[in-house]
Subunit: 231 residues, 2 copies
Amino acid sequence: MELTNVSKQIIKNLSVDCVVFGFENFELEVLLIKRKLNPGKDSWALPGGFILKSETLDDAAVRLLEETSNVKNIYLEQVHTFSKTDRFPLRRVISVAYLALVNPEKHSLKPGIDATDVKWQKVKDPIDFPFDHQEIFDRALNQLRKRVRTKPIGFELLPEKFSLTQLQNLYESILGEEVDKRNYRKRILSLKMLVPLNEYQKGVSHRAARLYKFDSKAFKKLKDEGFNFQL
Amino acid sequence: MELTNVSKQIIKNLSVDCVVFGFENFELEVLLIKRKLNPGKDSWALPGGFILKSETLDDAAVRLLEETSNVKNIYLEQVHTFSKTDRFPLRRVISVAYLALVNPEKHSLKPGIDATDVKWQKVKDPIDFPFDHQEIFDRALNQLRKRVRTKPIGFELLPEKFSLTQLQNLYESILGEEVDKRNYRKRILSLKMLVPLNEYQKGVSHRAARLYKFDSKAFKKLKDEGFNFQL
DNA sequence: TAACCTTATTGTATTTTTTACACTTATCAA
DNA sequence: TTGATAAGTGTAAAAAATACAATAAGGTTA
């Protein structure tokens, strides 16, 4: 490893923090790491780290998620940049927050170099965040709640083939409120972004639900036509 | 001036760029400065500059707008952080974009230390931006178009007392499309955020329009009740 | 002072969208 | 075969969005 290589130079006053959402057992979750070092040693924090001179913020977010938790190839979007002068105790660090969506089943967790542990934590359980991570988390959750009504991002959190009930559960657990089953189905199907499959749920002791998949081409077409939906 | 004072230390790899919108003569405008120095000397660019160790990004945006254009005490919101590695020619600089709203009549312009000139430029006229300022501008305009439908921010751009026609003109010039007068009035008045005054337009050679003012208390109340409007 | 020009102001009928609501079907387990 | 559980489905009522045009007011001009 060439530490003198310009491309590996760390920008020490700029970090990226990722709020990674997952969905398992009908519950919205967030990915946390246990910090190996001070400040905040042993506390459960948002995964993140510093950016390199050679990479964009998006690149950094991708890299840091791989490094800190082994999570790859996921939906990412920038949320906000946090800049309180005392937000990090050691020195002035400004942090760019990212929102990420992951299907937990597709990604095995593995603590990165600066963490002793990684876990999925239910969003509705209380979390004792260090630094300003509570504020970052709140903002990211807020953004997720807006997005889920205007972009079909929820599919990132589900298996490729899913039932309408799964989709509705996800939707409800992101928004934190319940919706009418028939009305939800009507709306979501009317958008023509879902294709029904000739496959059904397996291993359940009740009527098996039909499976659907997300039709990204149909969605792209809608978008190109300037169609704005609101779920 | 104590250059050694920590509070005045500049963070050289982090800048703020402001997209300042104004509304004059029924037209949406943007504030541009003529750069005094290279890179981009003499080009018309977005006002901005570097942040100080002692200030937040919001603070920096406020300060830079005062410094570069004499514009004070205005609506500000963060838009996005831009980080392409080659976005600034001299060295790696990451820039946080802000959206600002100003009533041009209330602010006299005065070029700051790094500018030879300042001006309001009509948004619909072509602008030849340096660096990645086109991208920054596009994103800010986009955000403004979203905001104007979900927050009563347009009032920042108008005099304290305004007519419904003025408000509608502003709305139309932000969105770039026309709306029906009767329906617009119905909707905006139904929100109860406007109070009709016993004052009327003056100096016009036709029927004088009634003036209204924005009722920020009523709006706050609406928001506290969790009411989300969509214009 | 009457005719004219310009913009302000106002209501209704139609269409579209959203909401509320409950029974039947399928599958497995007991 | 009965019971339990979740899947799947339609309609009527209410609310919201849209399309649309005549009258009022103030100033200017002939």
